[in-house]
């Protein structure tokens, strides 16, 4: 068991290296570089080139990569090409802001997903099943950012009960006013996890309920605690695995939701970095996010192996 975990942790290293190399390669394949965005087009070539030199963009790609990797390994995330601010500062701020959204969104999405999925399964073969299922998968049937725009139009503009955009605070929310800023983006973000989790829970619960001995237990009453307990115990492992992955995606920050709500999170930071070809910010952000994903993946695989020995490879 521990050998398995250790092996996965070791494998994480080449994976992260691979990710960072891929980032470098892709960002340099995209046309243009930060100098093209930073300065007007009529800048004399000599000046543009000297700027490129300053950013070390004239060096061969592998050298730029190695230099960056070397600094990263000693904890130096570098400085943004565009703003000149330290990347670590920008990234930690942005990740923090995304976390403030991701945690409640995950909570709401997972909770509703589990409830709706379980309700749908219990009411299987009735129209209620279809109703609960349909409600749950609204999130994966409509572009969520568009739902966000509509929610803003309804609640912020027409009804004027919630703020239209922006975070409105720094760090953690400490007042009702701050929480108001959270409501619409959290609802929008929770739609996808809700949809995805509910489908899995529904399928899992159905599978369990179809087992014969459960029929006898059920005859004793729909919400009998033992039935519930047994159902949850069997449905939980794979559901937890999925929740872990969904949380990873949420942490990556949704570029679309952050754009619509003007939220200064990691999605927006990455979006800016991509369009501005800000290599230090982009590389650092993606490597950090990739690390989070890899860790979550390892945890998921470990969990699965623990629950179901057949899942070992």
């Amino acid at each position: 068991m521990w050998a398995f975990t250790l092996r996965r942790l070791l494998y994480a290293v080449p994976v992260l290296l691979g990710v960072s190399m891929l980032v470098f390669a892709l960002i340099h394949l995209a046309p243009g570089d930060v100098v093209d965005i930073l300065v007007p087009p009529e800048v004399p070539k000599a000046i543009a080139d000297s700027l490129r030199q300053r950013f070390r963009l004239d060096e061969p790609l592998y050298m730029q990569y190695l230099a960056w990797l070397g600094r990263l390994l000693v904890g130096d995330f570098g400085v943004s090409f565009f703003t000149g601010r330290p990347v670590a500062e920008e990234l930690s701020g942005a990740l923090g802001n995304t976390l403030v959204l991701a945690l409640p969104a995950a909570g709401v999405g997972f909770l509703l997903g589990v409830v709706l999925g379980a309700l749908a399964a219990y009411n299987h073969d009735t129209w209620l099943d279809k109703l609960f299922s349909a409600t749950a998968i609204v999130g994966v049937s409509l572009p969520h950012y568009w739902v966000g725009i509509v929610l803003v139009a309804v609640f912020a503009v027409v009804l004027n009960v919630l703020p239209a955009q922006g975070m409105g605070f720094e760090g953690l929310p400490t007042s009702w006013e701050h929480v108001q800023h959270l409501i619409l983006p959290v609802v929008t973000l929770s739609l996808i996890p809700m949809g995805v989790i509910s489908r899995l829970v529904r399928a899992n619960v159905l599978e369990i309920l179809s087992q014969e001995f459960v029929g006898t237990l059920r005859a004793k009453g729909l919400f009998n605690r033992r039935v519930l307990y047994h159902t949850l115990k069997n449905a939980l492992p794979s559901t937890l695995a999925l929740m872990g992955l969904q949380f990873g995606y949420l942490l990556g920050g949704s570029i679309l939701v952050e754009t619509v709500f003007n939220w200064p999170g990691s999605g927006g930071l990455m979006n800016l970095a991509i369009f501005r070809r800000d290599v230090p910010v982009l590389s650092a952000t993606i490597v950090v996010l990739a690390t989070i994903f890899v860790v979550i993946n390892i945890l998921v695989d470990v969990l699965q192996a623990l629950i179901d020995p057949r899942m070992r490879r």
Partner: protein, 536 residues
Amino acid sequence: MFSRWTTRAAMPVAAVLALGLPAGSASAGGTLRIAMTASDVPTTTGAPDNGYEGVRFLGYPVFEGLVLWDLKRADKLADIRPGLAERWEQDAADNKKWVFHLRKGAKFHDGSEFNADAAIWNLDRYYKKDAKQFDPPGGAVAQARNPFVAGYRKIDDYTIEITNPRPLSYFPYMLPYMLYSSPAQFEKTGSWAEFAKAPSGTGPFKITEFKPRVSVTLSRNDDYWEKSKVPKLDKMVLFPMPEATTRLAALRSGQVDWIEVPPPDAVPSLKSAGFEIVTGSYPHVWPWVLNLAKEDSPWKDVRVRRAINYCLNRDGLVALLNGLAEPSVGAFKPTDPQFGKPKENYRYDPAKAKALLNEVGFGPDKPVKAKVMISTSGSGQMLPLPMNEFLQQNLKECGFDISFEVVEWGTMLVALRNAPTAQQALGSDAMNISLPPATDVSQIALYFLSTNAAPNGRNWANWKNAEFDQVIDRIEKSSDEAEILKNTQRAHEIIVDEAPWAFIVHDRNPRAMTKKVKGFISAQSWFQDFTAVDME
């Protein structure tokens, strides 16, 4: 901070705390919250990025140049006025040299004096590579916008001299783009990155709070050197908000008081909800820059270029935009004295367009095929997708078969900086790029002189016209205002008649604001004056 309930209550308190003034001061003018189209807060170092919108908000309100724009009037094109230089003149002996007499009594926000040393220090920031304060990106931008500084020196404590590479009568028009920051503050903070956190300029506002990516707060500078232009407002808070529907929602729900570029479709509902739509009318062309260097360019014959200008249904496009733009039939507006009297008088005349095309050999069975590079977004691009789609249909009726190469903004900037025949142009026959406003002859020269043909300058079309070059040369060497005006008119006439661009519409810089915003005069310029604005 966003809550409309607490803002008005908190404002007087904040004013007292921030400025140490007794509450109820005569010019207590409130806090104006503006949502910009920029995707990030422009840099606060005195060399703002994010294009000209950055200069509009984090340039002139906070940092100034030797020369400034006169933004007081709405009825004529904004001209220049003395800024940190009280007056200037060309050296009688050598007209490549300009002498600037600096203003006495202007102070930076940190209290230090503005004088010749400060001015030279700032020029070093932009031009002197080994200076401690050398700012490579800022320097690159300054050199791009003003490529005519060949040398400079201090004459005495309040006089400096700048040398041009060749005689340039319109040199003062290039100086508003070079802004001055406080050397003392730079010494105190140590680097531009640190300076950005505690900036200091000479402008009517000073930066008092800066939250990266979220907002920047400008407060009134009571010690501003021009007493009549001390701002009425207490504070201005600027928010980057690149998504148009988000800006709209923010305005309508009361989170901000003023938004840049409202979505055109929302204009009627904004008006009926009691908001004001403010537009300005000034020359800011939204064109198709025609590729004249390409081997098989469809625009080689001038009649084809004129034909497209006669085929454009400008009024239809303006209707699409709900009046947020106006038709453009040249680089200047027809009401501008610099417009001249061109032979071609562009208007929507499909018959004439078709006739012109027939002369060249095009017709219903042989349409003019052209691929236009358009971007999905970008500073000044307005609504590129629906606007271009409209034009595509519009031009079809005269026999133009237009297709699009849709690229991301960064890709377009790369193409712009290279030759139109280079690979980066992706084989495009035209580029839909809104270039900085051509408000005076200095800009016209930058766009259309043959020596500025890309990749050496802004003339992406690579249009080369000997007579135009000669006229500009005459302007540069002259010092007689009447002669300059006459030649400017001639230069403009050539541009219109030879049509290196499809002149489509002028961007009217629309903004939407609540009725509580008072005193704003929309000057005929990309830049605006916020000192007269007041919040009810």
